[in-house]
Symmetry: C2
Subunit: 97 residues, 2 copies
DNA sequence: ACAATTAGTCAGAAAAACATGACTATCAAA
DNA sequence: TTTGATAGTCATGTTTTTCTGACTAATTGT
């Protein structure tokens, strides 16, 4: 009962705003992503920024962090259910561009 | 032939990112918007930021600036054709939120 | 044993975005 | 004629975002 000129789209837009988030999100659509791998794939990016982006995407619950206790012990980030809901919008954006 | 990891959605996302752009865009969907009117409608906003947002939305060709030479001589900003293409995506975003 | 890879953190600097208050200039209404 | 509305600009300052380089710490490959 407090916001009157609420722009519902705004929140989602903000979640995907930031210099590296769209690219991270797009890569995550095609399967689990990993920290160092992202650093290599996204040219021009840097540790700090990717780390922060991943943390925020996780907080916003678009990505889920998973520690893989298997063979070469590592961490991967997967699109959450909420994240998957954004895929169609993302695709639509891609088709428009 | 130069970008390999291009994220097509990125550009559009960037166009709608910024503190006031989503709200301005949403208001523009419902008809022409005007500078002072936006300042009144969008609480917390300020001249400078709204002016910059309008200028950028215009540069990005999502809005078109029109000088109304009629009766009380003023300026209005309308959604361009390109801007209208974004409406469905925007709505989808709203429905998800 | 030594080097590389993984996945980060931390402090500090630089750059970009946003806000404030003062100011301009035209037009219309009281 | 003075006030209020229109639509801004400009200089400055604050805040937020992003980048850089050094560092940690566990694991894996040579």
């Amino acid at each position: 009962m407090e916001s009157e000129n609420d722009c519902k789209a705004e929140g989602l837009l903000k979640m995907l705003s930031g210099k590296w988030k769209p690219q991270i999100f797009r890569l995550a659509v095609n399967g689990p992503v990993r920290f160092n791998s992202l650093l290599r794939q996204i040219k021009g990016s840097n540790k700090q920024s990717v780390a922060v982006a991943l943390k925020e995407l996780e907080e916003q619950q678009l990505l889920e962090k998973k520690v893989i206790k298997q063979k070469p012990l590592h961490i991967e980030y997967n699109l959450s259910e909420k994240g998957k809901l954004l895929i169609p919008v993302f695709r639509q954006l891609e088709n428009l561009a």
